[in-house]
């Protein structure tokens, strides 16, 4: 038995060694583009949507004669949402697969540690939904090979606060946030800053821990503070639970949230509890260009894309634009061209700032939940 098992294992390992580098030698008419993100783990839903969108995008490119006369092959690796894994995956993409650029990853915790590898190997990377400002800029210095396609936490937090106080005329806000989550902490900090700067008052600030399902203790304290609006910067599952419990406790305040709310499941989970709430998103779903992508995606994969899919698609558009501009597949030239990209993607204006590597002046979309459906209210820029 033991011998059999060890024999099976060795065969399996040997096969897997060679399966990675099968006879597909990079021929001269194929260039590789990498994608990394979470295909497993708790962010898998978003990662899978991204990798599907990237696959679809380059399939279209290849069917329309390729790019600069070459076909594009996408190499996708899973990171489990873990920073160390992301570093390994990027080392493999750059050292072994010799990709010209990388799309992804889908969180700041993965996007930050890969910088040193990118710089060493001179391969640019466009992150999808890594919203921490430090993904592209650390200590006032821009990281040469890190780019992104989404707006950043300070902007999103400021938009939510600005909209709550300037448009909705709420002056007393409470914050419920996830103390163990980087995204939640970031949004909380910037919401608070903008809201107080504009003369509003934070009457309560309560934390919970990732994975909690009962928020009644925190909500009771929030209820006692009697806020007009409750800011909920976390993901849709917890949003649905906490919204329901808040309404059960008789809290009448309006809820406002960030792009973590974006999911088809939010309304089906939270039902009436979430009615009349607002959240900040990256795009207007009713935009005709968005519809086009959505329908194509649905036809191919049989379900609607998640928000990440839209952003990954735009990251690809950015990359292709830069390659055409540079008229070359060299990492350094692509990087220089990426700094001058100025196009309109499906998630809005993508004008990359030279000193920030972020899309600048990207409008945020304000979405309201009305009659059990998402309603696009307006494109909003915080003043």
């Amino acid at each position: 038995m033991k011998k059999l098992v060890s024999l099976m294992l060795s065969v399996l390992l040997i096969i897997s060694l060679f399966s990675g580098c099968s006879g597909k030698q990079a021929s001269s008419d194929v260039v590789k583009v990498g994608w990394i993100g979470s295909l497993t783990g708790d962010q898998a839903v978003w990662g899978i949507s991204e990798s599907s969108a990237v696959e679809m995008f380059f399939e279209e490119i290849n069917n329309n004669g390729g790019l600069l006369g070459k076909k594009i092959e996408v190499v996708k690796y899973d990171t489990r949402g873990d920073g160390t894994e992301a570093v390994n995956a990027v080392r493999r993409l750059t050292g072994q697969d010799k990709v010209i650029a990388i799309i992804g990853p889908n969180s700041s915790g993965q996007a930050i540690p890969i910088s040193s590898v990118l710089e060493e190997m001179k391969v640019p990377d466009i992150a999808t939904v890594a919203t921490n400002p430090k993904v592209t800029v650390v200590d006032g210095k821009v990281k040469p090979y890190n780019f992104r396609v989404c707006f950043i936490d300070p902007y999103q937090g400021a938009v939510a606060a600005g909209y709550a106080i300037d448009v909705l005329k709420f002056n007393k806000a409470a914050i419920l946030y996830d103390v163990g989550d980087d995204y939640s902490q970031g949004l909380t900090q910037y919401f608070e800053e903008t809201f107080t700067k504009k003369g509003g008052k934070i009457v309560a600030k309560e934390g919970f821990k990732s994975g909690d399902v009962d928020f009644r203790a925190q909500l009771t304290k929030i209820k006692d503070a009697n806020p007009d609006v409750i800011f909920m910067p976390y993901f849709f599952k917890e949003v649905a639970l906490s919204a329901k419990q808040a309404r059960e406790l008789g809290i009448k305040a309006t809820f406002i949230g960030g792009d973590g709310w974006t999911s088809d499941q939010l309304i089906s989970m939270a039902k009436d509890a979430i009615e009349g709430s607002y959240y900040v998103n990256h795009l207007d779903y009713n935009d005709p260009t968005v519809q086009d992508f959505k329908n194509k995606y649905k036809e191919k994969f049989g379900k609607d894309p998640e928000l990440n899919g839209y952003l990954a698609y735009d990251a690809c558009s950015m990359l292709v634009e830069a390659i055409k501009k540079a008229n070359s597949f060299e990492g350094e030239k692509i990087k220089d061209a990426l700094e001058t990209v100025d196009i309109v993607g499906i998630t809005g204006k993508l004008k990359i700032g030279k000193d920030s590597h972020n899309p600048e002046g990207k409008d945020a979309a304000i979405i309201k939940i009305e009659n059990g459906a998402l309603k696009f209210i307006e494109k909003y820029q915080v003043q």
């Binding site: 098992v5 897997s16 570093v87 390994n88 910088s115 430090k134 103390v179």
Partner: protein
């Protein structure tokens, strides 16, 4: 063919993880105490090292040692409180400790909180890691072969009997815990300067369980097993990369297979040493002669 650049990354990572694994090997394999909080010691070591390098501009090696010492200090406090707990209770206490450390770090905004601490100096190279590993292995071997090491093994085998013959059980457990926490702290420090980034999320319970899996996989009570186990289990997910979504399933199956095929782990209680190799050589030579 795999590129050297990529392999270098995997080896560096395996070398970094070898340190906490060696520490845990002493604690679990030689002293018989299970811990699910070693990621917490790694976190303390990592953050302390980063603090020393970034805020106080100390060079790498002193920072690493201070990081290890801080982790050891934390373990001393934990040990004082919990080492008198028997078996499973100690295990649960360490689990709670590991999670507590992570949650505290999540909320210390001075270190970046949950959003992490980017821009740390990149000082860890493969050479540094290998040298530190070699020193760590030699030290650990000497500890295990010393009187203290023998006492630790005695504690593992039969706690009551060893206290009857005059071994100070508490003291030896404490020594084992402190040394293992020091090793874990060193590993955390090296990880910080290899990635240039620290985030409390990196030091979750999953990380602690991974370390324990590696120790058991390599074989309890064997330093060789820890080294080989680390190399295999850190490299395995990378070798399996091409399986994409099925990667971790295959990884799990392989680990379960090996554990069922060899419950004592790869090198349960055995060491690969120079003498052992000499004996093996002699045996095979005499065998060959006997056949002629």
């Amino acid at each position: 063919m795999l590129s050297w650049y990529y392999i270098k990354g995997i080896l560096t990572l395996a070398g970094i993880y070898l340190l906490p694994v060696l520490g845990l090997s002493l604690l679990t394999g030689f002293t018989g105490l299970f811990s699910f909080g070693h990621a917490g010691f790694m976190a303390i070591g990592g953050y302390t090292t980063a603090f020393m390098m970034v805020k106080l501009n100390l060079p790498l090696i002193p920072s690493l040692i201070i990081g290890g010492l801080f982790a050891a200090l934390a373990s001393f406090i934990i040990g004082k409180l919990t080492l008198n707990l028997k078996g499973d209770y100690f295990c649960i206490a360490t689990l709670g400790f590991g999670e507590a450390i992570r949650l505290i770090l999540d909320n210390v905004q001075y270190f970046g909180g949950a959003r992490g601490w980017p821009g740390l100096p990149l000082k860890t190279t493969l050479t540094t890691v290998v040298i530190i590993d070699i020193i760590a292995v030699i030290l650990l071997r000497n500890i295990v072969n010393s009187r203290h090491g023998r006492n630790m093994i005695a504690v593992r085998e039969e706690e009551l009997a060893s206290s009857v013959i005059g071994i100070n059980v508490f003291k030896h457990k404490m020594m084992s815990l402190i040394i293992s926490a020091f090793y874990a702290g060193l590993g955390g420090g090296l990880l910080a300067t290899y990635l240039g980034f620290l985030q409390p999320k990196m030091f979750s319970l999953v990380r602690s369980t991974e370390l324990t899996i590696i120790v058991i996989f390599g074989g309890l009570g064997s330093i060789t097993g820890s080294v080989v186990g680390t190399l295999i289990l850190i490299a395995l997910p990378e070798i399996l990369r091409s399986f994409a979504n099925w990667r971790l399933v295959v990884y799990g199956i392989i680990v379960v297979f090996i554990i069922t095929a060899r419950p004592e782990g790869l090198f349960g209680g055995k060491e690969l040493s120079f003498n052992f190799l000499k004996g093996l050589f002699k045996r095979s030579v005499s065998k060959a002669r006997g056949e002629n």
